[in-house]
Protein backbone atom coordinates (compact mmCIF):
# COMPACT_ATOMS: atom_id res chain seq x y z
CA UNK A 1 0.00 0.00 0.00
CA UNK A 2 2.66 2.46 1.03
CA UNK A 3 4.99 1.51 -1.79
CA UNK A 4 2.05 1.80 -4.10
CA UNK A 5 1.31 5.43 -3.24
CA UNK A 6 4.94 6.43 -3.63
CA UNK A 7 5.54 4.60 -6.89
CA UNK A 8 3.87 7.26 -9.03
CA UNK A 9 4.15 10.99 -8.67
CA UNK A 10 0.48 12.06 -8.91
CA UNK A 11 -0.40 9.86 -5.98
CA UNK A 12 1.87 11.74 -3.58
CA UNK A 13 -0.05 14.97 -3.96
CA UNK A 14 -3.27 13.02 -3.64
CA UNK A 15 -2.20 11.25 -0.50
CA UNK A 16 -1.57 14.40 1.56
CA UNK A 17 -5.05 15.77 2.22
CA UNK A 18 -6.34 12.25 2.53
CA UNK A 19 -3.72 11.41 5.13
CA UNK A 20 -4.53 14.41 7.26
CA UNK A 21 -8.26 13.64 7.26
CA UNK A 22 -7.61 10.05 8.21
CA UNK A 23 -5.26 11.04 11.02
CA UNK A 24 -7.83 13.38 12.56
CA UNK A 25 -9.13 10.78 14.96
CA UNK A 26 -12.08 11.56 17.19
CA UNK A 27 -9.67 11.97 20.07
CA UNK A 28 -7.66 14.57 18.23
CA UNK A 29 -10.78 16.42 17.16
CA UNK A 30 -11.94 16.59 20.78
CA UNK A 31 -8.48 17.78 21.77
CA UNK A 32 -8.59 20.59 19.22
CA UNK A 33 -11.89 21.86 20.57
CA UNK A 34 -10.62 21.71 24.16
CA UNK A 35 -7.39 23.36 23.07
CA UNK A 36 -9.23 26.27 21.46
CA UNK A 37 -11.40 26.71 24.53
CA UNK A 38 -8.38 26.71 26.86
CA UNK A 39 -6.59 29.28 24.68
CA UNK A 40 -9.71 31.42 24.68
CA UNK A 41 -9.55 31.17 28.47
CA UNK A 42 -5.91 32.31 28.38
CA UNK A 43 -6.99 35.40 26.44
CA UNK A 44 -9.75 36.19 28.92
CA UNK A 45 -7.49 35.75 31.94
CA UNK A 46 -4.78 37.92 30.37
CA UNK A 47 -7.16 40.68 29.45
CA UNK A 48 -9.33 40.71 32.56
CA UNK A 49 -6.97 42.74 34.82
CA UNK A 50 -6.76 45.45 32.16
CA UNK A 51 -10.51 45.58 31.68
CA UNK A 52 -10.96 45.72 35.44
CA UNK A 53 -8.46 48.58 35.63
CA UNK A 54 -10.32 50.43 32.91
CA UNK A 55 -13.67 49.88 34.61
CA UNK A 56 -12.34 51.14 37.94
CA UNK A 57 -10.83 54.22 36.37
CA UNK A 58 -14.29 55.35 35.21
CA UNK A 59 -16.22 54.19 38.27
CA UNK A 60 -17.24 56.16 41.30
CA UNK A 61 -15.62 55.45 44.65
CA UNK A 62 -18.79 54.12 46.18
CA UNK A 63 -19.18 51.22 43.79
CA UNK A 64 -15.51 50.24 44.07
CA UNK A 65 -15.72 50.33 47.85
CA UNK A 66 -18.77 48.09 47.73
CA UNK A 67 -16.85 45.61 45.59
CA UNK A 68 -19.24 45.92 42.69
CA UNK A 69 -16.89 46.88 39.88
CA UNK A 70 -15.51 44.18 37.59
CA UNK A 71 -16.07 44.36 33.84
CA UNK A 72 -17.99 47.59 33.28
CA UNK A 73 -17.71 50.98 35.00
CA UNK A 74 -20.36 51.61 37.67
CA UNK A 75 -21.38 55.16 38.44
CA UNK A 76 -19.60 56.36 35.30
CA UNK A 77 -17.61 59.56 35.73
CA UNK A 78 -14.45 61.25 34.50
CA UNK A 79 -13.87 63.31 37.62
CA UNK A 80 -11.07 61.00 38.77
CA UNK A 81 -9.18 61.90 35.60
CA UNK A 82 -9.66 65.57 36.42
CA UNK A 83 -8.31 64.99 39.94
CA UNK A 84 -5.20 63.15 38.73
CA UNK A 85 -4.52 65.52 35.85
CA UNK A 86 -5.09 68.45 38.21
CA UNK A 87 -2.11 67.44 40.36
CA UNK A 88 0.90 69.49 39.18
CA UNK A 89 3.26 66.87 40.63
CA UNK A 90 1.79 64.26 38.29
CA UNK A 91 2.74 66.43 35.32
CA UNK A 92 6.22 67.15 36.64
CA UNK A 93 6.85 63.45 37.24
CA UNK A 94 5.40 62.49 33.88
CA UNK A 95 7.68 64.97 32.17
CA UNK A 96 10.62 63.52 34.14
CA UNK A 97 9.80 60.06 32.81
CA UNK A 98 9.84 61.41 29.26
CA UNK A 99 13.18 63.17 29.82
CA UNK A 100 14.77 60.15 31.54
CA UNK A 101 13.58 57.87 28.75
CA UNK A 102 14.98 60.11 26.00
CA UNK A 103 18.34 60.77 27.68
CA UNK A 104 18.74 57.21 28.97
CA UNK A 105 17.92 55.65 25.62
CA UNK A 106 20.37 57.96 23.84
CA UNK A 107 23.21 57.07 26.23
CA UNK A 108 22.45 53.37 26.15
CA UNK A 109 22.21 53.29 22.35
CA UNK A 110 25.47 55.19 21.89
CA UNK A 111 27.37 52.84 24.18
CA UNK A 112 25.75 49.63 22.95
CA UNK A 113 26.04 50.39 19.24
CA UNK A 114 29.71 51.33 19.28
CA UNK A 115 30.58 48.47 21.60
CA UNK A 116 28.66 45.90 19.55
CA UNK A 117 30.22 47.11 16.31
CA UNK A 118 33.76 46.91 17.65
CA UNK A 119 33.39 43.38 19.04
CA UNK A 120 31.64 42.20 15.89
CA UNK A 121 34.83 42.79 13.82
CA UNK A 122 36.44 39.38 13.45
CA UNK A 123 39.97 40.70 13.00
CA UNK A 124 39.90 42.87 16.12
CA UNK A 125 42.64 41.82 18.50
CA UNK A 126 41.29 41.14 21.97
CA UNK A 127 37.80 40.51 20.62
CA UNK A 128 37.15 37.51 22.87
CA UNK A 129 38.36 39.42 25.90
CA UNK A 130 36.20 42.47 25.20
CA UNK A 131 33.16 40.24 24.64
CA UNK A 132 33.91 38.14 27.70
CA UNK A 133 34.07 41.05 30.15
CA UNK A 134 30.52 41.99 29.12
CA UNK A 135 29.10 38.45 29.20
CA UNK A 136 30.57 37.78 32.64
CA UNK A 137 28.51 40.63 34.11
CA UNK A 138 25.36 38.72 33.12
CA UNK A 139 26.11 36.07 35.72
CA UNK A 140 27.96 37.88 38.46
CA UNK A 141 27.59 41.40 39.73
CA UNK A 142 28.59 43.75 42.49
CA UNK A 143 25.31 43.52 44.32
CA UNK A 144 22.99 46.19 45.60
CA UNK A 145 25.14 47.82 48.26
CA UNK A 146 28.49 48.20 46.45
CA UNK A 147 26.52 49.70 43.55
CA UNK A 148 24.76 52.05 45.91
CA UNK A 149 28.03 53.16 47.51
CA UNK A 150 29.52 53.77 44.07
CA UNK A 151 26.63 55.81 42.67
CA UNK A 152 25.69 57.70 45.83
CA UNK A 153 28.97 58.13 47.71
CA UNK A 154 31.77 57.90 45.15
CA UNK A 155 30.21 59.49 42.08
CA UNK A 156 27.85 61.78 43.99
CA UNK A 157 24.99 61.10 41.60
CA UNK A 158 22.29 61.18 44.27
CA UNK A 159 19.36 63.37 43.29
CA UNK A 160 20.57 63.81 39.75
CA UNK A 161 19.22 62.45 36.49
CA UNK A 162 22.50 60.54 36.02
CA UNK A 163 21.72 58.09 38.80
CA UNK A 164 18.67 57.04 36.80
CA UNK A 165 20.02 56.94 33.27
CA UNK A 166 23.68 55.91 33.56
CA UNK A 167 24.09 52.83 35.83
CA UNK A 168 21.79 50.62 33.74
CA UNK A 169 23.08 51.82 30.37
CA UNK A 170 24.44 48.67 28.69
CA UNK A 171 22.18 45.63 28.59
CA UNK A 172 24.34 42.64 27.71
CA UNK A 173 21.42 40.89 26.03
CA UNK A 174 20.90 43.84 23.68
CA UNK A 175 24.64 44.03 23.12
CA UNK A 176 24.80 40.40 21.98
CA UNK A 177 21.78 40.84 19.71
CA UNK A 178 23.44 43.81 18.01
CA UNK A 179 26.77 42.02 17.81
CA UNK A 180 25.27 39.08 15.96
CA UNK A 181 23.44 41.49 13.66
CA UNK A 182 26.65 43.35 12.77
CA UNK A 183 28.47 40.04 12.28
CA UNK A 184 26.01 39.15 9.55
CA UNK A 185 26.39 42.54 7.87
CA UNK A 186 27.54 42.04 4.24
CA UNK A 187 31.31 42.40 4.33
CA UNK A 188 31.55 43.38 0.67
CA UNK A 189 29.93 46.74 1.38
CA UNK A 190 32.45 47.62 4.07
CA UNK A 191 35.37 46.38 1.99
CA UNK A 192 34.26 48.43 -0.99
CA UNK A 193 33.99 51.52 1.20
CA UNK A 194 37.42 50.86 2.66
CA UNK A 195 38.93 50.58 -0.82
CA UNK A 196 37.30 53.91 -1.67
CA UNK A 197 39.33 55.36 1.18
CA UNK A 198 36.66 55.56 3.87
CA UNK A 199 37.89 55.32 7.44
CA UNK A 200 36.30 53.11 10.10
CA UNK A 201 34.29 56.12 11.28
CA UNK A 202 33.00 56.83 7.79
CA UNK A 203 32.06 53.19 7.24
CA UNK A 204 30.30 52.99 10.60
CA UNK A 205 28.31 56.21 10.40
CA UNK A 206 27.62 56.36 6.67
CA UNK A 207 27.36 52.73 5.62
CA UNK A 208 26.63 50.46 8.58
CA UNK A 209 24.25 52.58 10.66
CA UNK A 210 21.97 53.69 7.80
CA UNK A 211 21.61 50.06 6.73
CA UNK A 212 20.88 48.83 10.26
CA UNK A 213 17.74 50.87 10.87
CA UNK A 214 15.64 47.82 11.75
CA UNK A 215 17.92 46.57 14.50
CA UNK A 216 18.52 50.12 15.75
CA UNK A 217 14.77 50.70 16.01
CA UNK A 218 14.33 47.41 17.87
CA UNK A 219 17.08 48.17 20.36
CA UNK A 220 15.83 51.75 20.87
CA UNK A 221 12.39 50.39 21.72
CA UNK A 222 13.89 47.77 24.05
CA UNK A 223 15.75 50.43 26.00
CA UNK A 224 12.99 53.04 25.91
CA UNK A 225 10.35 50.67 27.26
CA UNK A 226 12.78 49.42 29.89
CA UNK A 227 13.54 52.93 31.16
CA UNK A 228 9.91 54.07 30.92
CA UNK A 229 8.89 51.14 33.12
CA UNK A 230 11.82 51.28 35.53
CA UNK A 231 11.35 52.57 39.04
CA UNK A 232 13.88 51.05 41.43
CA UNK A 233 16.96 53.14 40.62
CA UNK A 234 14.90 56.31 40.84
CA UNK A 235 13.38 55.11 44.09
CA UNK A 236 16.82 54.32 45.47
CA UNK A 237 18.75 57.42 44.43
CA UNK A 238 16.18 60.21 44.30
CA UNK A 239 14.77 61.91 47.40
CA UNK A 240 13.23 65.01 45.91
CA UNK A 241 9.65 64.67 44.71
CA UNK A 242 10.30 67.02 41.80
CA UNK A 243 12.77 64.49 40.35
CA UNK A 244 10.62 61.35 40.54
CA UNK A 245 9.53 59.59 37.39
CA UNK A 246 5.86 58.74 37.15
CA UNK A 247 6.48 55.11 38.17
CA UNK A 248 7.75 56.26 41.58
CA UNK A 249 4.80 58.66 41.84
CA UNK A 250 2.56 55.66 41.24
CA UNK A 251 4.50 53.47 43.65
CA UNK A 252 4.10 56.03 46.41
CA UNK A 253 0.40 56.31 45.69
CA UNK A 254 -0.01 52.54 45.98
CA UNK A 255 2.20 52.33 49.07
CA UNK A 256 0.18 55.08 50.77
CA UNK A 257 -3.07 53.27 50.02
CA UNK A 258 -2.00 49.77 51.02
CA UNK A 259 0.83 50.60 53.40
CA UNK A 260 1.06 50.52 57.20
CA UNK A 261 -2.39 52.04 57.65
CA UNK A 262 -4.01 49.38 55.52
CA UNK A 263 -4.51 46.87 58.30
CA UNK A 264 -6.64 49.37 60.20
CA UNK A 265 -9.45 48.88 57.75
CA UNK A 266 -10.39 48.51 54.15
CA UNK A 267 -11.28 52.18 53.74
CA UNK A 268 -7.76 53.42 53.07
CA UNK A 269 -7.34 51.07 50.12
CA UNK A 270 -10.58 52.05 48.45
CA UNK A 271 -10.14 55.77 48.68
CA UNK A 272 -7.21 55.52 46.32
CA UNK A 273 -8.50 52.71 44.13
CA UNK A 274 -9.98 54.85 41.38
CA UNK A 275 -7.14 57.38 41.58
CA UNK A 276 -4.62 54.52 41.38
CA UNK A 277 -6.41 53.03 38.39
CA UNK A 278 -6.41 56.32 36.52
CA UNK A 279 -2.70 56.90 37.24
CA UNK A 280 -1.84 53.38 36.10
CA UNK A 281 -3.89 53.83 32.96
CA UNK A 282 -2.14 57.11 32.13
CA UNK A 283 1.27 55.54 32.80
CA UNK A 284 0.75 52.65 30.40
CA UNK A 285 -1.00 54.78 27.80
CA UNK A 286 2.07 55.47 25.60
CA UNK A 287 3.06 51.81 25.74
CA UNK A 288 -0.40 50.61 24.77
CA UNK A 289 -0.47 53.13 21.91
CA UNK A 290 2.91 51.92 20.67
CA UNK A 291 2.05 48.27 21.31
CA UNK A 292 1.45 47.23 17.68
CA UNK A 293 4.96 48.43 16.77
CA UNK A 294 6.53 47.21 19.98
CA UNK A 295 5.25 43.70 19.54
CA UNK A 296 6.54 43.39 16.00
CA UNK A 297 9.98 44.81 16.75
CA UNK A 298 10.38 43.07 20.09
CA UNK A 299 9.54 39.68 18.67
CA UNK A 300 12.06 40.12 15.86
CA UNK A 301 14.64 41.36 18.39
CA UNK A 302 14.22 38.32 20.60
CA UNK A 303 14.44 36.00 17.58
CA UNK A 304 17.59 37.76 16.44
CA UNK A 305 19.10 37.21 19.86
CA UNK A 306 18.17 33.55 19.89
CA UNK A 307 20.20 32.92 16.74
CA UNK A 308 23.32 33.38 18.79
CA UNK A 309 22.58 34.27 22.37
Amino acid sequence: MVTDTFSTTPDISAVRPQASTIKDTTGYRVFRVVNAIVLLGVCVVTLYPFINLFAKAFSSEGYIAAGEVNLVPRGFNVETFQVVLGDPMFWINYRNTVVYTLVGTAIAMALTTTYAYAISRRNLKGRTFFTGIAVFTMFFGGGLIPNYILVANVLGMRNTIWAVVVPSAISVFNLLVMKSFFENFPQELEEAAAIDGMSTYGIFFRIVLPLSKAVLATMTLFYAVGIWNSWFNSFLYLDEKELFPVTVYLRNLIAAASGPGAEAGADTIQIGANIQSVTMLLTVLPIVCLYPFLQKYFVSGVMLGSVKG
Binding site: V2, K23, Y28, F31, V38, V42, C43, T46, Y48, P49, N52, K56, I64, A65, G67, T112, T114, A118, I119, K125, F130, I133, A134, T137, F139, F140, G142, G143, L144, I145, P146, Y148, I149, L150, V154, P167, A169, I170, T200, N229, W231, F232, L250, R251, S258, G259, A262, E263, A266, I269, Q270, Q276, M280, T283, V284, I287, Q295, V299, M303, S306
Partner: protein, 326 residues
Protein backbone atom coordinates in the same frame (compact mmCIF):
# COMPACT_ATOMS: atom_id res chain seq x y z
CA UNK B 1 45.34 36.17 1.96
CA UNK B 2 44.21 32.62 1.37
CA UNK B 3 45.94 32.65 -2.01
CA UNK B 4 49.22 33.68 -0.43
CA UNK B 5 49.21 30.88 2.10
CA UNK B 6 48.53 28.48 -0.73
CA UNK B 7 51.83 29.44 -2.43
CA UNK B 8 54.10 26.38 -2.59
CA UNK B 9 56.90 26.42 -0.01
CA UNK B 10 60.53 26.68 -1.07
CA UNK B 11 59.74 28.77 -4.14
CA UNK B 12 61.46 31.90 -5.41
CA UNK B 13 62.45 34.80 -3.19
CA UNK B 14 59.47 36.74 -4.46
CA UNK B 15 57.20 34.00 -3.25
CA UNK B 16 58.94 33.95 0.11
CA UNK B 17 58.41 37.68 0.43
CA UNK B 18 54.77 37.19 -0.38
CA UNK B 19 54.44 34.58 2.31
CA UNK B 20 55.75 37.06 4.85
CA UNK B 21 52.49 38.82 5.78
CA UNK B 22 51.12 35.48 6.96
CA UNK B 23 53.97 35.14 9.40
CA UNK B 24 53.45 38.71 10.52
CA UNK B 25 49.80 38.05 11.15
CA UNK B 26 50.69 35.31 13.57
CA UNK B 27 52.77 37.81 15.50
CA UNK B 28 49.94 40.34 15.65
CA UNK B 29 51.21 42.37 18.57
CA UNK B 30 49.13 44.93 20.42
CA UNK B 31 51.23 47.76 19.04
CA UNK B 32 50.54 46.61 15.51
CA UNK B 33 46.82 45.99 16.21
CA UNK B 34 46.46 49.42 17.78
CA UNK B 35 48.18 51.14 14.87
CA UNK B 36 45.97 49.32 12.36
CA UNK B 37 42.61 49.48 14.20
CA UNK B 38 42.98 52.48 16.50
CA UNK B 39 39.73 53.95 15.24
CA UNK B 40 37.92 50.75 16.13
CA UNK B 41 39.48 50.80 19.59
CA UNK B 42 38.20 54.32 20.19
CA UNK B 43 34.70 52.80 19.93
CA UNK B 44 35.58 50.58 22.87
CA UNK B 45 36.87 53.28 25.19
CA UNK B 46 33.57 54.56 26.61
CA UNK B 47 31.74 51.23 26.85
CA UNK B 48 34.70 49.49 28.51
CA UNK B 49 35.12 52.42 30.88
CA UNK B 50 31.43 52.08 31.67
CA UNK B 51 31.81 48.36 32.43
CA UNK B 52 34.87 48.96 34.58
CA UNK B 53 33.20 51.69 36.65
CA UNK B 54 29.63 50.43 36.91
CA UNK B 55 30.13 46.66 36.80
CA UNK B 56 33.66 45.76 37.90
CA UNK B 57 34.28 48.44 40.52
CA UNK B 58 31.19 47.30 42.49
CA UNK B 59 32.48 43.74 42.16
CA UNK B 60 35.68 44.88 43.89
CA UNK B 61 33.47 46.78 46.30
CA UNK B 62 32.29 43.41 47.56
CA UNK B 63 35.49 43.41 49.59
CA UNK B 64 33.65 45.40 52.27
CA UNK B 65 31.93 42.14 53.15
CA UNK B 66 35.26 41.30 54.80
CA UNK B 67 36.11 44.80 55.99
CA UNK B 68 34.41 47.27 58.28
CA UNK B 69 32.81 50.02 56.22
CA UNK B 70 32.13 53.40 57.72
CA UNK B 71 30.05 55.96 55.79
CA UNK B 72 32.37 58.77 54.81
CA UNK B 73 35.44 56.58 55.22
CA UNK B 74 37.33 54.54 52.65
CA UNK B 75 34.92 53.09 50.08
CA UNK B 76 36.72 49.77 50.31
CA UNK B 77 36.38 49.71 54.09
CA UNK B 78 38.70 50.67 56.91
CA UNK B 79 39.94 47.45 58.49
CA UNK B 80 39.86 43.71 57.91
CA UNK B 81 37.35 41.82 60.02
CA UNK B 82 37.54 38.44 58.27
CA UNK B 83 34.31 36.48 58.20
CA UNK B 84 32.70 38.51 60.97
CA UNK B 85 29.71 39.63 58.88
CA UNK B 86 29.23 36.17 57.41
CA UNK B 87 29.09 34.67 60.90
CA UNK B 88 26.64 37.39 61.81
CA UNK B 89 24.04 36.35 59.25
CA UNK B 90 24.72 32.63 59.53
CA UNK B 91 23.91 32.86 63.23
CA UNK B 92 20.87 35.01 62.56
CA UNK B 93 17.60 33.08 62.68
CA UNK B 94 15.87 35.70 60.53
CA UNK B 95 18.37 35.18 57.75
CA UNK B 96 17.50 31.48 57.55
CA UNK B 97 13.79 32.33 57.36
CA UNK B 98 14.34 34.58 54.36
CA UNK B 99 16.74 32.02 52.88
CA UNK B 100 14.05 29.33 53.09
CA UNK B 101 11.47 31.73 51.63
CA UNK B 102 13.81 32.49 48.74
CA UNK B 103 14.39 28.83 47.96
CA UNK B 104 10.68 27.96 48.17
CA UNK B 105 9.60 30.93 46.05
CA UNK B 106 12.41 30.30 43.56
CA UNK B 107 11.52 26.62 43.23
CA UNK B 108 7.82 27.34 42.80
CA UNK B 109 8.56 29.94 40.14
CA UNK B 110 10.92 27.57 38.34
CA UNK B 111 8.56 24.59 38.50
CA UNK B 112 5.56 26.55 37.25
CA UNK B 113 6.88 29.40 35.12
CA UNK B 114 9.44 27.34 33.22
CA UNK B 115 7.21 24.58 31.76
CA UNK B 116 4.09 26.65 31.11
CA UNK B 117 5.48 28.58 28.10
CA UNK B 118 6.38 25.24 26.51
CA UNK B 119 2.84 23.95 27.02
CA UNK B 120 1.35 27.18 25.68
CA UNK B 121 3.65 27.15 22.65
CA UNK B 122 2.68 23.55 21.86
CA UNK B 123 -0.99 24.42 22.21
CA UNK B 124 -0.60 27.43 19.90
CA UNK B 125 1.19 25.16 17.46
CA UNK B 126 -1.90 22.94 17.20
CA UNK B 127 -4.12 25.83 16.12
CA UNK B 128 -5.05 25.75 12.44
CA UNK B 129 -6.60 29.22 12.33
CA UNK B 130 -3.75 31.63 11.81
CA UNK B 131 -5.83 34.60 12.84
CA UNK B 132 -6.85 33.07 16.16
CA UNK B 133 -3.22 32.14 16.80
CA UNK B 134 -2.12 35.72 16.14
CA UNK B 135 -4.82 37.10 18.46
CA UNK B 136 -3.79 34.80 21.32
CA UNK B 137 -0.14 35.72 20.83
CA UNK B 138 -0.78 39.46 20.69
CA UNK B 139 -2.88 39.40 23.85
CA UNK B 140 -0.61 37.12 25.85
CA UNK B 141 2.50 39.23 25.12
CA UNK B 142 0.85 42.39 26.46
CA UNK B 143 1.56 41.94 30.20
CA UNK B 144 5.28 41.67 29.44
CA UNK B 145 5.35 45.35 28.51
CA UNK B 146 3.85 46.54 31.78
CA UNK B 147 5.96 48.17 34.46
CA UNK B 148 6.38 46.06 37.59
CA UNK B 149 4.83 48.93 39.53
CA UNK B 150 1.66 48.58 37.48
CA UNK B 151 1.63 44.79 37.81
CA UNK B 152 2.00 45.14 41.57
CA UNK B 153 -0.73 47.77 41.63
CA UNK B 154 -3.08 45.51 39.69
CA UNK B 155 -2.30 42.53 41.94
CA UNK B 156 -2.95 44.57 45.09
CA UNK B 157 -6.27 45.80 43.69
CA UNK B 158 -7.46 42.40 42.52
CA UNK B 159 -6.64 40.79 45.87
CA UNK B 160 -7.97 43.59 48.07
CA UNK B 161 -11.03 42.96 50.20
CA UNK B 162 -13.28 44.43 47.50
CA UNK B 163 -11.28 43.14 44.55
CA UNK B 164 -12.31 40.60 41.95
CA UNK B 165 -10.92 37.58 43.80
CA UNK B 166 -13.02 38.37 46.83
CA UNK B 167 -16.05 39.12 44.66
CA UNK B 168 -15.78 35.56 43.37
CA UNK B 169 -15.31 34.19 46.88
CA UNK B 170 -18.38 36.14 47.95
CA UNK B 171 -20.37 34.79 45.01
CA UNK B 172 -19.74 31.23 46.15
CA UNK B 173 -20.74 32.06 49.68
CA UNK B 174 -17.26 32.39 51.16
CA UNK B 175 -16.06 35.11 53.49
CA UNK B 176 -13.87 37.74 51.79
CA UNK B 177 -10.41 38.15 53.30
CA UNK B 178 -7.69 40.73 52.68
CA UNK B 179 -5.42 38.26 50.88
CA UNK B 180 -2.28 40.38 50.98
CA UNK B 181 -2.44 40.42 54.76
CA UNK B 182 -2.44 36.61 55.00
CA UNK B 183 1.05 35.08 54.86
CA UNK B 184 -0.29 31.77 53.52
CA UNK B 185 -1.58 33.42 50.33
CA UNK B 186 1.52 35.31 49.29
CA UNK B 187 3.24 32.51 47.34
CA UNK B 188 0.13 31.65 45.35
CA UNK B 189 -0.46 35.28 44.49
CA UNK B 190 3.16 35.96 43.59
CA UNK B 191 3.49 32.91 41.33
CA UNK B 192 0.12 33.62 39.67
CA UNK B 193 1.21 37.15 38.85
CA UNK B 194 4.49 35.80 37.43
CA UNK B 195 2.54 33.36 35.26
CA UNK B 196 0.27 36.16 34.07
CA UNK B 197 3.18 38.41 33.21
CA UNK B 198 5.76 36.03 31.74
CA UNK B 199 4.16 32.94 30.19
CA UNK B 200 2.86 34.51 26.98
CA UNK B 201 6.12 36.26 26.20
CA UNK B 202 8.04 33.10 27.10
CA UNK B 203 6.50 31.24 24.15
CA UNK B 204 8.35 33.32 21.54
CA UNK B 205 11.59 31.39 21.55
CA UNK B 206 9.77 28.06 21.57
CA UNK B 207 7.55 29.08 18.67
CA UNK B 208 10.68 30.12 16.77
CA UNK B 209 12.30 26.76 17.55
CA UNK B 210 9.17 24.91 16.44
CA UNK B 211 9.36 26.42 12.97
CA UNK B 212 12.85 24.99 12.49
CA UNK B 213 11.71 21.37 12.87
CA UNK B 214 11.77 19.57 9.54
CA UNK B 215 8.28 18.84 8.18
CA UNK B 216 9.51 15.61 6.65
CA UNK B 217 9.90 14.14 10.13
CA UNK B 218 6.18 14.63 10.74
CA UNK B 219 5.27 13.20 7.36
CA UNK B 220 7.44 10.16 7.89
CA UNK B 221 5.99 9.53 11.33
CA UNK B 222 2.45 9.94 10.00
CA UNK B 223 3.13 7.25 7.41
CA UNK B 224 4.43 5.06 10.21
CA UNK B 225 1.10 5.55 11.93
CA UNK B 226 2.14 7.91 14.74
CA UNK B 227 -0.71 9.93 16.19
CA UNK B 228 -0.44 13.61 17.10
CA UNK B 229 0.57 12.90 20.69
CA UNK B 230 3.32 10.50 19.62
CA UNK B 231 4.56 13.08 17.13
CA UNK B 232 4.70 15.69 19.85
CA UNK B 233 6.55 13.40 22.20
CA UNK B 234 9.05 11.97 19.72
CA UNK B 235 9.58 14.82 17.26
CA UNK B 236 8.45 18.19 18.62
CA UNK B 237 9.85 17.99 22.14
CA UNK B 238 13.30 16.68 21.08
CA UNK B 239 13.29 19.41 18.41
CA UNK B 240 12.98 22.22 20.94
CA UNK B 241 15.19 20.60 23.58
CA UNK B 242 18.24 22.86 23.03
CA UNK B 243 16.02 25.95 23.51
CA UNK B 244 14.50 24.39 26.61
CA UNK B 245 17.92 23.69 28.11
CA UNK B 246 19.31 27.17 27.46
CA UNK B 247 16.24 28.79 29.01
CA UNK B 248 16.33 26.37 31.94
CA UNK B 249 19.96 27.30 32.65
CA UNK B 250 19.13 31.01 32.48
CA UNK B 251 16.13 30.46 34.78
CA UNK B 252 18.29 28.62 37.28
CA UNK B 253 20.75 31.52 37.14
CA UNK B 254 18.13 34.00 38.30
CA UNK B 255 16.76 31.55 40.86
CA UNK B 256 18.26 33.28 43.91
CA UNK B 257 17.29 36.76 42.81
CA UNK B 258 13.54 35.87 42.66
CA UNK B 259 11.82 38.95 41.26
CA UNK B 260 13.27 41.34 43.84
CA UNK B 261 11.45 44.42 42.60
CA UNK B 262 8.07 42.73 42.47
CA UNK B 263 8.41 41.14 45.91
CA UNK B 264 9.50 44.49 47.32
CA UNK B 265 6.40 46.17 45.90
CA UNK B 266 4.01 43.43 46.99
CA UNK B 267 5.21 42.67 50.50
CA UNK B 268 4.22 44.33 53.76
CA UNK B 269 5.30 43.64 57.36
CA UNK B 270 2.21 41.52 58.03
CA UNK B 271 3.30 38.86 55.57
CA UNK B 272 7.09 38.93 56.04
CA UNK B 273 6.99 35.35 57.33
CA UNK B 274 6.50 34.12 53.74
CA UNK B 275 7.05 37.21 51.58
CA UNK B 276 10.47 38.30 52.76
CA UNK B 277 13.29 37.00 50.55
CA UNK B 278 17.07 37.46 50.70
CA UNK B 279 17.14 40.41 48.30
CA UNK B 280 14.40 42.34 50.09
CA UNK B 281 15.89 41.54 53.51
CA UNK B 282 19.24 42.75 52.21
CA UNK B 283 17.62 45.95 50.98
CA UNK B 284 16.07 46.59 54.38
CA UNK B 285 19.12 45.90 56.54
CA UNK B 286 21.67 47.17 54.01
CA UNK B 287 20.14 50.34 52.63
CA UNK B 288 17.37 51.32 55.03
CA UNK B 289 19.30 50.50 58.21
CA UNK B 290 22.63 51.43 56.56
CA UNK B 291 24.48 48.25 57.65
CA UNK B 292 26.57 48.31 54.50
CA UNK B 293 29.10 45.60 55.29
CA UNK B 294 26.50 43.20 56.66
CA UNK B 295 24.29 43.72 53.61
CA UNK B 296 27.22 43.24 51.24
CA UNK B 297 28.13 39.94 52.90
CA UNK B 298 24.59 38.68 52.31
CA UNK B 299 24.62 39.97 48.74
CA UNK B 300 27.93 38.28 48.01
CA UNK B 301 26.63 35.02 49.46
CA UNK B 302 23.57 35.23 47.20
CA UNK B 303 25.62 36.13 44.10
CA UNK B 304 28.09 33.28 44.63
CA UNK B 305 25.27 30.75 44.99
CA UNK B 306 23.68 32.16 41.81
CA UNK B 307 26.94 31.86 39.87
CA UNK B 308 27.52 28.32 41.16
CA UNK B 309 24.00 27.32 40.12
CA UNK B 310 24.48 28.63 36.58
CA UNK B 311 27.86 26.97 36.18
CA UNK B 312 26.66 23.59 37.45
CA UNK B 313 23.44 23.71 35.43
CA UNK B 314 25.47 24.55 32.33
CA UNK B 315 27.94 21.76 33.05
CA UNK B 316 25.19 19.21 33.71
CA UNK B 317 23.31 20.22 30.59
CA UNK B 318 26.39 19.93 28.41
CA UNK B 319 27.16 16.49 29.79
CA UNK B 320 23.63 15.09 29.71
CA UNK B 321 21.99 16.78 26.73
CA UNK B 322 24.82 18.38 24.82
CA UNK B 323 23.22 21.83 24.95
CA UNK B 324 24.88 24.64 26.88
CA UNK B 325 25.34 28.38 27.03
CA UNK B 326 29.06 28.27 26.35
Amino acid sequence: MALRTAAPPGGTTAQAAEARPVVLRNKDTWARALRRDWRLYTFLVLPVLFLLIFRYLPMLGNVIAFRRFRPGGNIFGDEWVGLYYFQMFIQNQQFWTVFANTVILGLLTLLICFPLPIVLALMLNELRSRRFKRIVQTLSYLPHFMSIVIVAGIVLQLTSITGTVNQVVDLFGGTPVALMQQPEWFRTIYVSSEVWQTVGWGTILYLAALTTIDDQLYEASRIDGANRWQQTWHITLPGIRPTMMVLLILNIGSFMAVGFEKVLLLQNPLIYSTADVISTYLYRVGIQSAQFSYGTAIGLFEAVIGLALVLSANFASRRLVGASLW
